[in-house]
Symmetry: C3
Subunit: 440 residues, 3 copies
């Protein structure tokens, strides 16, 4: 079984291209499904992921109390439309499932456009796009359509139908765990409740799946837990049902909006200087020309729940262009043309590097702490004096100097400005000649 | 009785204008009086303030030992002049009390201008202005006059008279205390010893009086203590006689030079990160386009004494243009034309906001700390999903996220960048539905 | 015996010029000697320094184990050359001792140029300069020459001779200790192993000597220990043999490259905020228009050993242009034309100021901590009120305000922005009138 470090050492460009294509294909297959926070669309989407990894589906019954919330009734929908007087579907759920206000109650009646209007939602500023709207916790029904669709409607009577059900059932979530050398866990979480939207969050769902698949084939120090959950209520449900797991979670990431071509944006955990925060920043600093690291704020994705004061896990949010910062956000324009294979593959690559850094971030102790050891006779130092040293020598000297059992390899990377992977190579070389000992 | 928060919520512009006019009238009434660190002018000034609030006058006898100092003899003056050979008063105390070197010994004699010169003080660079000079602790006498006055004097004999007394008496200071819900105190201090100078410090004396008047009508958590004292010796005297009060002083401000139209300057306490330092900075950040916050330095006003190492109270100095930073400083040009009603009223307004923030800065504990509570069913959250939240939602989420009993509302304001008053509104809403509990 | 503070108060420009000339003369005398990490050249150089101060020479036998290293055999050389077929010395050790690869094994044979080439070292980019190269820990031999010398050589046979010995002997180092009022020590270290190179490090060797000479004539609080040692192996040897001394070393500096006309560069100790780090930065801030302070890194000079994790002394590296940052570095162009008398004297001057600051950096306690003491009746304050204070008053007030037994004089200098020497003058004045007491 290959170690993760060898695995990642030389990812060929070709492999990246292949992974990007596979991820895009997964996104494409999931795209048409009408997901919600409960129901068959969510369940079917998770089952598709089972083609790639052996994730297990969990069903939590309607009415289950989860902290301050209650698991809602299960919503399912077969069809929805608005027909004009000639019987033509002028708004059609079959064409785009965003057309229905998600969690709409069933309705079947004839209405004048003037009556219907308060149930119609558009985006006047981007008149060709359909908005994405939900009504999970307030009983309501409605349709979302483009402004142009609405503008082209004449007054008169329309046949309005939403063939949905809202009945006791279950909330579904997916979970996949990889057992590592120890029981400390890394949590990877992605919301899986959005209907036909690609970046938000088929990108997160599929990259998490691929990441789980790749990590399954590696020797790992940490155990890894992946969850695919409906936003907010799913995270709350999972946390409420898994409180005993939480003390073992040492690091975590929420994945969201990682398929667009924008630069990476990492939102730090509530703690602000957790190891995961520092690892992500280090990796991006050494792979990206441009990226953003921002402080925690209590809105966004499920880091809201993971970082609530009574939970307070070291979980940050890994994104490309963040929610609300791209015009296509929560509209029909977040479609297959908006996400790019190379962006998906790049996100996967950075996540693997982040995992690699977490795995390799150890405390070491210099076994010859008084003065430098004589590296030359161990073949680790140039023999010709008076010349300049190379990068490996610098890495060796930094590791030896700070490996006092108090500075992790990441601390050394941050202080030296060197890349973590170079320092890890140096540490491996020093371990081989017994000049270093791992502390933990 | 109105709470301070309701009181301040909507200060109409008209009220600000009225307050500015009243403050300017108070300054105007005090302007002609010849104050000093002791004597009738100081006493008379404090009595005028009794027309507005029930401050009490304290008299400390000459010779009282106050730490390293001794209360000096009381100085009083009736008249002073220099007459030319024709009997014309060419320098006249009755025209401007700055003409006499403050604390001058009595003198009555004829002198040649050449002999007189070493007792004359001018400002050659601003030749129309009379300097303000004192000789509190060295026996001396003298006159201050404009350079032009001096230049116009011919040689010859002059009749010199200072009709003053320096005799055992008292040092006077004023004090006013408002009892709040608890005995912890906020100290507001202003020096009251300067003769006909407006910004330095009739502005501080009058704004303090108005502030005391307004706070008297409110329900307050803290108790408030106002002192009107002669500079340096007055602060030292008050501190020496009130050592038992000091442990109760939790916050404090010295008010000085707050009537000119310049931007606000806040000089932090010696501690540098005291709550008062952070509160003042927060208020100015959210009310001003331009302001200055500077570190403590051991010169300036009575913060020198309050922040001496053996006292070390959390007392900062609230100013507009600081001492020495405006050309009119310590000259006859610091007159009624230099201070502005709207500047006085603006200073009062900011001080009320500072007090409000101190009053409302509490530690709260989120009663539902595990994940977010369901705000929607409490009417505190939009029901339509997929849309963006508003400012109140952001405030609610920030308060819930950081209300862990360790972050004060001010901490939350600083970390979120939101205005304190918005966060307080959110906290009040959360208190109402029992999602929050005050810790202290 | 003069105190150091009086000594340094007014260094006349003439004295600086004289010291510069003396230092340059010392450098010139040492320049021709072929030093190495062992041998007669090193020994002879240290004996020359004995003309100036009574340093003692220590001899450590070949084979002595010093931590991870072993003291090598002693290397000595009498002559070395390459003769062409006409018997002309085309490369001649007698002309420049850099021509021989330092620590070369003896060789005497005829060789074709084609065979000889792998033993020849040049600098193609600076074709007139001879490189400085060593082979301390790998048995080898070679010649260094200018690229032009090499280019002018025709093919053919050459007579190659290195008349050297590598035999059991000793490693030599010099040491000089000044006993101060207490046993806490300041360590000054300079490497002394480089052959004909001036800035690196005859500048350090000679300035250290002059500094030792001047400190010997002063009353000092600390004891001072100077070491002249071969680089790396010398520092390791000294540390291994003097472990019992290390706990007494409170501050230290490595001196290197301090004779060139460049700006000062100080590399901080591994601790990063040691008192020596702050003192050097303070002195440079108040004497230089331009200087650099950089963080510790584990390559450079013997700070590598002093700051290894098991030693971790507060030792920084005081330089002008650092190693590798000037083109003449480790070449024959680091000669007598590269170092300047005024640069040497300026370095000595800054080091004296650094020592002065270390000596005078004390904790004081204000004996009148409650409010300011009345400085006026002690003659330390202007008597005319209303005017501005002078710099001494500011210094007095800062010292009184922060002399609470927790802020050193250096802390006060850093916080106030005032020069340390002004604050020390203020402290001395306050000590005289019993307003201050030294804590340590």
């Amino acid at each position: 079984m290959a170690t993760i470090s060898k695995e990642l050492a030389n990812v060929p460009a070709l492999q990246l291209a292949r992974e990007g294509a596979e991820l895009f294909e997964m996104v494409s297959a999931l795209y048409p499904i009408c997901r919600s926070i409960t129901g068959k669309g969510l369940r079917e989407s998770l089952r598709q992921l089972q083609n790639h990894i052996g994730l297990s589906l969990h069903e939590v019954p309607t009415g289950t109390q989860v902290f301050d919330w209650t698991v809602p009734r299960e919503w399912n929908i077969r069809d929805a439309y608005i027909k004009d007087s000639r019987g033509t579907r002028v708004v059609d759920f079959q064409k785009n499932n965003l057309h229905v206000l998600n969690y709409s109650l069933p309705v079947k009646q004839k209405m004048l456009l003037s009556e219907l209007r308060k149930h119609l939602f558009t985006l006047p500023e981007t008149p060709d796009w359909i908005p994405y709207r939900t009504t999970y916790y307030k009983e309501n029904w409605g349709f979302c359509l483009s402004q142009r669709q609405l503008d082209s409607r004449a007054d008169g009577e329309y046949d309005v139908c939403i063939d949905s059900t809202l009945e006791p059932g279950n909330l579904t979530y997916g979970e996949f765990r990889i057992q590592g050398a120890n029981n400390d866990e890394v949590l990877i979480s992605c919301h899986s409740c959005h209907p036909s939207l690609c970046n938000d969050n088929l990108s997160g769902m599929t990259v998490a799946t691929k990441l789980a698949q790749q990590l399954s084939a590696m020797q790992l120090r940490y155990s890894y837990r992946f969850v695919w959950i409906p936003g907010t209520i799913g995270a709350i449900t999972w946390l409420a049902l898994n409180e005993s797991v939480l003390p073992r979670i040492k690091h975590g990431l929420v994945l969201s909006c990682i398929g667009d071509p924008g630069r990476f944006n990492y939102k730090k955990s509530r703690r602000g200087n957790a190891e995961i925060d520092r690892v992500v920043e280090h990796v991006l600093r050494h792979t990206e020309d441009d990226f953003v690291v921002s402080d925690f704020s209590p809105y966004g994705y499920d880091e809201r729940q993971y970082c609530s004061p009574g939970i307070n896990l070291p979980v940050g949010c890994f994104m490309r262009t963040p929610n609300g910062k791209y015009p296509q956000y929560h509209t029909s324009a977040d479609d297959l043309s908006f996400v790019k294979p190379e962006a998906l593959a790049g996100s996967l690559d950075r996540l693997l590097r982040i995992v690699l850094t977490l795995e390799q971030n150890r405390l070491y102790v210099n076994q010859n702490p008084k003065c430098e050891p004589q590296l030359g006779r161990r073949g680790l130092y140039r023999t010709m004096g008076g010349t300049s040293g190379n990068k490996l020598e610098a890495s060796l000297l930094w590791v030896l100097n700070l490996a006092d059992g108090k500075h992790s390899l990441l601390d050394i990377a941050e202080r030296s400005g060197l890349d973590f992977s170079e320092l890890d190579q140096a540490a491996q070389a020093l371990l081989k000649c017994d000049l270093l000992r791992p502390l933990d």
